[in-house]
């Protein structure tokens, strides 16, 4: 027992040391870069100044992207809400045939990055050469193509196609959880189907829809790929693309302006987040909606059933399937713009990106390594943070929660810029143009995924399971290894996959962070698309799509659709 006393003290230290280092690491990874970003935007040559901001607001080329960003966000959210809510209602609350298929098709865009959507829609709607435009001009013999994807409305269109699933998911969840007796009571009181929908159903699911709208807005204003691929050639800029151009300048002035614009973008994102809090705090309906799952009341569509089904299938076929199929077709064509004929088809594009072209070859290697490393490191790090936050009574747990959740709301462009400013020698450490700066950015950006998934698993572990291990003689580390880790394994696997997938095709941060030796898959696809090698870019994008859809199928298998994506 004398011996026990001494080792007891030593054992007790491993846990606090581990926890303190994890928290310090979190501060260095998240707090320091964001602080630096803000500092750089307001301090020049050691003096506080707002000259960057006044410059930003005095120049049309800076202020216009700001308004464009807000306009893009608002329009995209408006259209997405219409599509998302309608589809969610049809799937959750009607007897529409093939609801499972409709749901799956609606979720496909959710699995793919919007920049690939932009590439796919280019195949359909590019002026002159897009398949739809060609079809139109061929059919009606018009001199000019009717659709121009390289425009502001083109950006809104593609963004909407990749944002409506956010609303679809939240709205469907709320509609399914709603207690049917609330609506039945309205029917008994004399209200018709439409009236019930308007007076009871919609008001009750509105808070959930609002939450989805806020997510969608954040997602849209943070996006780089779509406005870059579709807008830049038409000289239409949003904040993310304007920041990218400033960073491309490479001048100190450019970097400072980029920092100032980033702070603006960040402010917009945080404003939206606060709005979200406010909406959540006013959710009176939440208590009624949440709870155990009940079978929701099903609305019979009657004679409208068949027409609506046809309409939905045609719509989803057009917006989800057609662009992807066009891109797949293009990936087999010898040169872009050639008609789709047997003699024009080839596998050469795939051979080229897989075996011949050094950029894509190194991109495959880089992205795989980056995604593996980021998924592993982030899952482990997030798991420790979640453990501290859920299972300990450590003071400052709320700070961990805040710092782990915050980067998820910060646009990737801002995160990348903060990383560049902090880790290019500012603190005696220069990671610029290396593999590591991309890793660090990925870890920070996706930390929330592992933090939230593991937290959700940890909450379900009753404290007595850990206590039983301790009283059985296990130290804290043994308890963590033998009891906690096996019990949260589904959460760990889910979080690993949910980080692996987006990092495998990440564009927004990578485009700012990649160096001569560290191109990623998305960067390679983006660069080839921008340079006009559409058919080769299509091959690369098609491969990415296939890999992502397969991985998503695996995730569904593994976690039974319960992961928090």
């Amino acid at each position: 027992m004398e011996d026990a006393k001494r080792t007891g003290v030593r054992r007790n230290l491993t846990q606090p040391i581990l926890f303190v280092s994890v928290i310090v690491l979190l501060l260095i990874l998240v707090g320091l870069p964001l602080g630096t970003l803000f500092y750089k935007s307001v301090v020049m040559q050691g003096k506080l100044t707002f000259v960057n901001y006044t410059y930003v607001f005095s120049e049309q080329r800076n202020i216009l992207p700001f308004w464009n960003t807000l306009k893009l966000g608002a329009l995209t959210v408006a259209f997405s809400t219409g599509i998302g809510v309608a589809l969610a209602w049809l799937v959750a609350r009607t007897d529409l045939p093939g609801r499972r298929w409709i749901e799956m098709a609606s979720l496909v865009p959710y699995m793919l990055p919007p920049f690939i959507g932009a590439m796919a829609w280019t195949q359909l709607l590019a002026p002159r050469v897009g398949y739809l435009n060609k079809l139109w001009t061929g059919l009606f013999h018009t001199p000019t193509a009717p659709f121009n994807l390289y425009s502001f409305s083109g950006i809104v269109w593609v963004m909407t196609m990749y944002t409506f699933p956010f609303i679809f998911i939240t709205a469907k969840g709320a509609l399914e959880r709603m207690n049917p007796s609330l609506e039945e009571a309205a029917r008994i009181a004399g209200a018709g189907k439409i009236r019930v929908l308007r007076n009871v159903t919609l008001p009750l699911v509105l808070p959930s829809i609002m939450a989805g709208m806020i997510l969608a807005f954040l997602y849209t204003i943070s996006n780089f790929g779509v406005p870059a691929l579709l807008g830049m050639r038409a000289r239409i800029y949003v904040l993310t693309t304007r920041i990218y151009l400033y960073m491309h300048d490479g001048t100190f002035q450019g970097i400072r302006l980029a920092a100032a614009l980033s702070v603006l973008l960040l402010a917009a994102a945080l404003f939206i987040l606060l709005l979200n809090r406010w909406v959540l705090s006013r959710q009176h309906g939440a208590a009624i909606i949440s709870g155990k799952s009940v079978r929701p009341a099903v609305v019979e569509l009657g004679k409208w059933r068949a027409p609506i089904a046809c309409g939905v299938v045609a719509f989803l076929g057009f917006i989800v399937i057609a662009p992807l199929v066009s891109m797949f077709l293009t990936s087999f064509i010898r040169a872009w713009g050639l008609p789709l004929r047997w003699e024009n088809l080839t596998l050469h594009n795939y051979k080229y990106i897989l075996f011949d072209y050094s950029l894509t070859k190194s991109a495959f290697l880089n992205s795989s390594l980056l995604a593996l490393t980021a998924a592993t490191v982030t899952t482990a790090f997030g798991a420790l943070l979640a453990y501290i936050s859920v299972k300990t009574k450590l003071k400052g747990r709320q700070a961990i929660d805040f710092l782990s959740t915050l980067p998820h709301a910060i646009p990737g462009t801002v995160v990348a810029l903060a990383m560049i400013l902090a880790w290019s020698g500012q603190f005696k450490l220069n990671l610029y143009n290396t593999f590591w700066i991309i890793i660090v950015a990925y870890v920070v950006r996706y930390l929330f995924y592992s933090y939230r998934n593991v937290s959700a698993s940890l909450v379900q572990i009753h404290p007595s399971l850990e206590e039983a291990a301790r009283i059985s003689g296990a130290s804290w580390m043994q308890n963590f290894r033998d009891v906690i880790v096996p019990l949260i394994r589904p959460g760990l696997v889910a979080s690993w996959l949910l980080i692996f997938m987006p990092t495998l095709r990440e564009l927004t941060m990578s485009i700012l962070l990649y160096g001569p030796h560290t191109p990623t898959l998305a960067v390679a696809a983006y660069e080839m698309q921008s340079a006009g090698y559409y058919h080769i870019a299509a091959a690369l994008a098609s491969l990415i799509v296939v890999v992502l859809l397969v991985l998503n199928a695996i995730v569904r298998r593994v976690v039974g659709g319960k992961a928090n994506a």
Partner: protein
């Protein structure tokens, strides 16, 4: 006999709330002691301090003569060599029955062959034969409880702690498991500290019962003592059914005395007077429902009217209005006195209790 667990001036405060207030207790080797009290009385906190999960605010805990918790020491749970059974079993869902029970042995790096032997013994002892390869989700609540017991016993710990182990089981099973735990205790001779809010459980199992109330120990004694000779109104009220009446102690000598019930001062009842109670004059007269005999007509010392009569199978429960209050009386079902009729009550046995602060006489 040497004490296995000793608590000295043990105190635990959560902020301003004192959950455990300066308690003293020594548990002898092989003894089975119950901490009994309503929820929030500090019994579970006491157990968790013994286990090492909570750090005492003040005081000392010794296990097998070694200080494990004090102002300067806190030996972690894994170094205390205890076994523990939790309210929700805490059987690890990702391990088979065998692996659950073997875990404490594996931590102690016991050789594989010996693990097999000891786990087999524990499985047999707890009646889990044939279930070694099952996972907890394939077991009933009672079987999971046995796994928890086997896991707590397998290393032959210094003492076993049980935290309301039967409260998640249904009534039939609970009664069965009580006897099984008793049996297990008899066969292993292990020292047991047991927490429960169920007085029947404490009665059946304990060598001694420690009745706790608001963080303090109200009384320590054998089940018989606790039931027959409660030292406070709280203990009398918490254990079993009790009738209380305001009373004045009119005379006392040693442990016997006479008390007069308020409202019928002309009659005094013979009663027991616990040590210390003779100091006070005003107090409560405490009578168990089974210690009252009923006579039809106007026999007995107190007169009343039958307000309600409830048939309970093995006995009949009467509610009788007398001297301005309701009395509960339990008699065997042969006696039938209709509701509304006058009745005489004769008190066979009564205890005079000094008025404790916050007494809940009714």
């Amino acid at each position: 006999m040497p004490s296995v667990i000793e608590l000295e001036h043990l105190t635990k405060a959560f902020g301003d709330v004192v959950a455990v207030d300066d308690i003293e207790l020594a548990i002898a080797r092989g003894e089975i002691v119950c901490l009994l009290g309503p929820s929030g009385c500090g019994k579970t906190t006491t157990l968790r301090m013994v286990a090492g999960f909570d750090r005492p605010t003040k005081g000392e805990i010794k296990i097998a003569g070694v200080v494990v918790s004090s102002g300067s020491t806190l030996i972690p749970p894994e170094r205390r060599n205890l076994g523990m059974v939790f309210q929700n079993y805490a059987v690890w869902p990702h391990m088979t029955v065998f692996r659950n029970i073997a875990y404490p042995l594996r931590i102690k790096k016991v050789p594989r062959r010996e693990i097999q032997k000891k786990v087999d013994e524990a499985i047999q002892l707890t009646g889990l034969t044939g279930l070694a390869k099952r996972y907890p989700e394939q077991l009933s609540g009672g079987q999971q409880q046995r796994v928890a017991l086997a896991r707590a016993l397998v290393v032959q710990p210094v003492a076993m702690l049980l935290d309301e182990p039967l409260s998640n089981l249904d009534a039939k099973l609970r009664e069965k498991m009580r006897f099984e735990i008793m049996d297990l205790h008899r066969r292993t001779g292990i020292t047991v500290l047991y927490v429960t809010h169920d007085q029947a459980e404490a009665m059946v199992l304990s060598d001694r019962i420690v009745v706790m109330n608001e963080g303090r120990i109200d009384q320590i004694g054998s089940p018989g003592e606790i039931y027959r000779q409660p030292r406070s109104a709280f203990v009398a009220d918490f254990i079993g059914l009790a009738n209380f009446a305001r009373a004045t102690l009119v005379e006392s000598s040693g442990s016997q005395g006479r008390a007069a019930v308020a409202g019928v001062e002309d009659i005094s009842f013979p009663c027991e007077v616990p040590v210390g109670a003779e100091q006070s004059r005003e107090g409560l007269l405490f009578v168990r429902p089974e210690d009252i005999r009923l006579t039809e007509k106007a026999g007995g010392t107190l007169r009343g009217i039958v307000r309600r009569r409830t048939f309970l199978g093995n006995q009949v429960d009467y509610r009788i209005e007398a001297v301005g209050k309701e009395w509960r009386v339990e008699v065997n079902p042969d006696v039938t006195i209709p509701e509304g009729s006058a009745v005489g009550m004769s008190v066979q046995r009564a205890v005079f209790l000094p008025e404790a602060p916050g007494e809940g006489a009714s």
